[in-house]
Symmetry: C2
Subunit: 241 residues, 2 copies
């Protein structure tokens, strides 16, 4: 059921990413040279380079001309909302138990705001899902998801309680490809007060996500609203294009 990428370079990438993540290899060590790796794996050097470039892009190694590829300290990089990950995937990294409550699920007609956010027309139908996330014993995150029905024909409460993304990718075979993300801080709404334990905070961090499929069609708009003191975003960035 799960789509496995069996590309050589991807396999090699995963293999070394794992070695670094588990701490089998330590920060400061160097990995074998590209030529050595090409021999070890019986591939061409360009294939090795694709794997190493992935490692570099994702912050596992730093390639240094004339020297080799040095392993970076990857420990601090926990809890990334970075990239494109769903709450289910993120919550694996939590210590405390995380539970999801579905407050609202149903088909609606888009208002002006949604028509703009989803580039939808009056005729489009939209799945609206409101969920809160409890971590430990506090309700901390409020997720408001909107899916175009033409891409997601059916949705149930049960699906929303586990992982919508699992369902979309594995059952509907949708290929989620990229997203535009925006992080801002807004005043809390009635809805926030109702569903979250706000502890007196008057503002809330809002992560807005516009999610696209492989064919470049926008199919989801999401607002993930995080209580100020519990929000954390981690990112790894390389300079210059």
């Amino acid at each position: 059921m799960i789509k496995v990428r069996a590309n050589k370079y991807h396999v090699i990438y995963k293999e070394w990413a794992e070695k670094i993540k588990t701490g089998e290899l330590k920060a400061g060590d160097t990995i074998p040279s590209e030529n050595d790796l090409a021999q070890i794996y019986g591939t061409s050097r360009e294939t090795i380079r694709k794997a190493l470039n992935l490692l570099a892009q994702n912050g596992f190694i730093q390639k240094i001309r004339g020297k080799g590829s040095v392993i970076l300290d990857v420990q601090k990089m926990s809890f990334p909302i970075s990239g494109l990950v769903s709450f289910k995937e993120i919550s694996k990294g939590f210590q405390a138990e995380a539970t999801t409550t579905v407050h609202d699920i149903g088909l609606i007609k888009p208002d002006a705001f949604l028509m703009q956010q989803l580039q939808a027309s009056k005729k489009d139908e939209i799945w609206k899902v409101i969920r809160s996330r409890k971590i430990g014993d506090e309700r901390i995150i409020l997720d408001k998801d909107y899916f175009l029905k033409k891409h997601v024909p059916m949705l149930t409460k049960q699906i929303c309680e586990s992982s919508i993304y699992d369902y979309l990718e594995h059952n509907l075979q949708l290929s989620i490809s990229f997203a535009k993300k925006e992080i801002v801080v807004e005043e809390c709404t009635e809805e926030d007060y109702k569903h979250l334990d706000l502890e007196g905070f008057t503002h809330i961090v809002v992560v807005k996500n516009y999610v696209y499929l492989e064919n470049t069609s926008l199919f989801q708009y999401t607002e993930s609203r995080h209580r100020l003191d519990k929000f954390r975003f981690v990112d790894f960035a390389r300079r210059g294009v």
Copy 2:
């Protein structure tokens, strides 16, 4: 003085990125196929593919198997703190005038906090720079920068008033390579109240940056403190890996 990358694939990347940014090519259009481009530029297809992969990574195009490369809507992506950009580079995109005030600059010995953040020893000396950024007529951002003196021997008030990064890259020839970024919300400090127009906000968005050189040595720790209502972070992310 400025280092120009004259790689074929980089030139091709810049050329098409420019065409898309300026709107000469519109979202939804397709660019020529890889084979066509290889012919046009008189290069191999792999070189074209390196250029197109850069375009895809940076959100300019979406490559679709069997079809071609479609141009994405890149307009909404203004004001990225994403990637690694300095305030000077960001402020180009502002409507209003942006000015920088230097409040403090000097060499200090690291306290426990800084020793940890910069992985420094007691013997290290550190440049401390405190600056506020005024946009329009409000002081909105407080930047606290710490540089290891062994990498940055000299710093002046004048340099800090323009762009420290310009100075580091062009005059000191330092190669800034990558950074780890963390975004959280904290309570305002005395320092924030003193240097910023906080308008009653009790909390502040803090962007913490750990900046590394090409040889993987950490040389800078920065806190960029943004007033809640003026903070905006935009990102483009691809799913998987």
